[in-house]
Amino acid sequence: MTPILEIEHVSKSFGTTRANDDISLTLAQGEIIALLGENGAGKTTLMSILSGHYTPDSGIIRVAGAVLPPGRPRMAIRAGIGMVYQHFSLAPNLTVLENVMTGTESLWSPRSNTAAGRAKLLALSRKFGLAVDPDARLGDLSVGEQQRVEILKALYNDVRILVLDEPTAVLTNIEAEHLFATLKGMARQGLSLIFISHKLPEVMATADRILVLRGGRLVAERRAAETSRAELAELMVGRAVTRPVRDAATPGAVVLELTDVTLREAGVNRLKSVGLHLREGEVLGIIGVSGNGQKPLAALLGGTARRSGGEVRLFGQPIGNLTVTDAIAAGIGRIPEDRNHEGVVGEMAIWENVVLERIGDYSRHGFVDRQAGMADAERIMAEFDVRGGGAARPIRLLSGGNVQKLILGRNLSRRPRILIAAQPARGLDEGAVAAVHERILAARRAGTAVLLISEDLDEVMALSDRIQAIVGGRLSPPVAAEGADARRLGLMMAGDWMEAEDAS
């Protein structure tokens, strides 16, 4: 049988970079393949060629035996190729149905046939178990629901090949598991799927075949059943990678203490009588599904939100409302959850992003000391292995992993007494995750008190000395990392912590 998709000898260069170098692959009907690779390995470029948004320099693509004209998005859609992008291409102000129907009818038709569209959408939603309300405003949906809409949008165009670019990057663990079940169901119904990822467990669990990309080249192909996480990690990075492990340490004095803290925002209690304490030289892990109060907690401690009640003690002293200036002056380092929006200013240079929060230290006679700023930025870039050009380039040109390493460097180079790290490894590839974890553990060894807010169980268990779960704005009592396993933390994340003893 002819494979549904054949990619033959496709190459694409940007300037001197070969983003795709002679890539060939095939996809059979009803098969799920995974494209595994670090950020920058060329996965997204390959998919943009497939969707017609880039024209390859050489090579051809066949869909069910017929050659696909290059660089024509409309033709790719017509051939049955559907894309689900990591950053959804959806409009929050429009309804689900409007998002799905955009561009599906002749533009000059005097009336949109919304009744037929709605019926088709609901039929697809039933067939594949993707429940959505066609009339809901997209912006009111959760991220997981939005992804369902993105998938339905592709299905609505009668796809035969569905390409998902990092589909779990924005999902919680539960949403991700639900997604994988859905994808397997789709493959059983005859759809062919390409699934781009750098997360090993999900690739192993979902794909039939795994293709590993590195530096724009296809370096290996394995059947999922015949490989291991260790082998894939090594193939992907090109060398053996191991995540660092936490060694035993004795925590010091309590530096931060929250008692009965509540935070009310827009009429909703985001934090409900939260209590925690944090000691020098330890990592306190806050585990929980996104949206349970992690953001207000990080904002409160970083100085961008005010509590409505309760007490906060910093280095033993009760304090009033913390401002950002206070937080910086007190030596509280912050790694924000949304690094591109809160962590850096994309259009500004790397060195400017490094000095911005301490601009006073880099000022002389009212002028910014550019040389000192550049020098410090370059030192941090060298020390924290930030790759992607000189310190004068705009920071938006850096990859996510490099931005995160820079943010870490900006904070850790000042030896903070407290580090608030919110989802520090989210969306990073395996190499960068290891680097970030190593830095956090190094800070812990140096005596920094680290508050690690994360929804990644592996991460929290590997780095934390004590763990508290956050559910609906409440914090569980802490448990010692030694006594915590995935099952117990899972129960705590579900709000069931009656059996958890206090490990403070």
Binding site: A91, M101, G103, S106, L107, R111
Partner: protein, 315 residues
């Protein structure tokens, strides 16, 4: 108090409301269409001035009144293409380009006017649109004089508001335009052409603005002078926000503003002596700022408004 009731009870007030609202309706619909596709068009003030001049000049040169409106629309479309070229193709700042188009179009219209029409003591005039007599309705007592004694372009404006609402919310083209204003990447991913859609919307929108300007010289008055648009374009830009980018509400907003304006004009003549007349002139603007502050808080701005789209670039 009695004077105010007298004003509200006069048919002349309500006839004036519709007349004053007409150019605002055209302009607001035009600006709304541009913004729905993601392009802020601050060229409106100049485009309305040019439309007023071009429409008038065409009629002065012997064309009929409808041809005059058509000439204005075409000229508006050309300025729209210029604005789209600068903001869509070149991706320049929509504010700067729009203000540039306004200054250019306004100056050019005065220049062409001076070139074509010799300086005279009193400006030359044309015969403007006459009120349309609608059987039965126009003969009703009070209502006939108050509402059904308008020129054809006024009815066209109201019809266009309904038509634009239909196009934007009931047709595939309208959905494509709205998607382009919300997320051009998404439109592109669905095989639409955001660049073409933006050009089309800006050209059509600018044509509407110019027709609004031409209403001033071909219906409301009968001659052209360079300052006659008097900030109406800026009012339209505010009305788009007031209307939350919806044509029906744009129509209401234009009528509301026109009501304030017509009311203050009459109030000036009644309450003389006590207050400087400039106070009255301020009333519609103050009330529109208040209305804007109340309405705009709930508005849902097109998410890609003022963001140039270049394929393949991260935003």
């Amino acid at each position: 108090m009695n004077e105010m009731m007298d004003i509200l009870g006069s048919a002349g007030l309500w006839a004036a409301v519709l007349r004053i609202a007409t150019p605002l309706i055209f302009g607001t619909l035009g600006a709304l269409l541009c913004e729905r596709a993601g392009v802020l068009n601050l060229g409106i003030e100049g485009i309305m001035t040019f439309g007023a001049m071009a429409g008038w000049l065409a009629v002065y040169q012997g064309c009929d009144l409808w041809t005059g409106l058509l000439v204005a629309a075409i000229c508006g479309g050309i300025f729209g293409a210029l604005h789209a070229g600068l903001t869509v193709t070149l991706g320049l700042s929509q504010h700067v380009s729009g203000l540039g188009v306004t200054l250019f179009a306004a100056s050019l219209s005065y220049y062409l006017f001076r070139l074509m029409v010799p300086v005279a003591g009193t400006p030359p005039t044309v015969t403007p649109f006459a009120p349309v007599h609608i059987p039965v309705l126009s003969d009703l007592p009070f209502l006939g004089a108050a509402l059904f004694n308008q020129t054809a372009p006024t009815w066209l404006a109201i019809g266009l508001a309904i038509a634009l609402a239909w196009v934007l919310f009931r047709t595939p083209l309208g959905l494509a335009i709205r998607m382009t204003g919300e997320n051009p990447q998404a439109a592109d991913a669905q095989g639409l052409n955001p660049t073409a859609l933006r050009y089309g919307a800006v050209i059509a929108g600018s044509a509407l603005m110019a027709v609004g300007g031409a209403f001033l010289t071909l219906s409301a008055f009968n001659s052209f002078f360079p300052t006659m648009v008097q900030g109406r374009g800026w009012i339209c830009i505010a009305l788009v926000v007031f209307a939350s980018w919806r044509p029906g509400r744009a129509l209401l907003g234009a009528l509301l503003f026109a009501f304030f304006d017509a009311f203050q004009l009459r109030l000036q003549t009644v309450l003389t002596g006590d207050l400087p007349y400039q106070i009255f002139l301020m009333i519609p603007y103050i009330l529109s700022i208040v209305a804007l502050a109340v309405m705009a808080r709930r508005a849902r701005v097109p998410q890609a408004l003022m963001k140039p789209y270049r394929r393949g670039e991260r935003i």
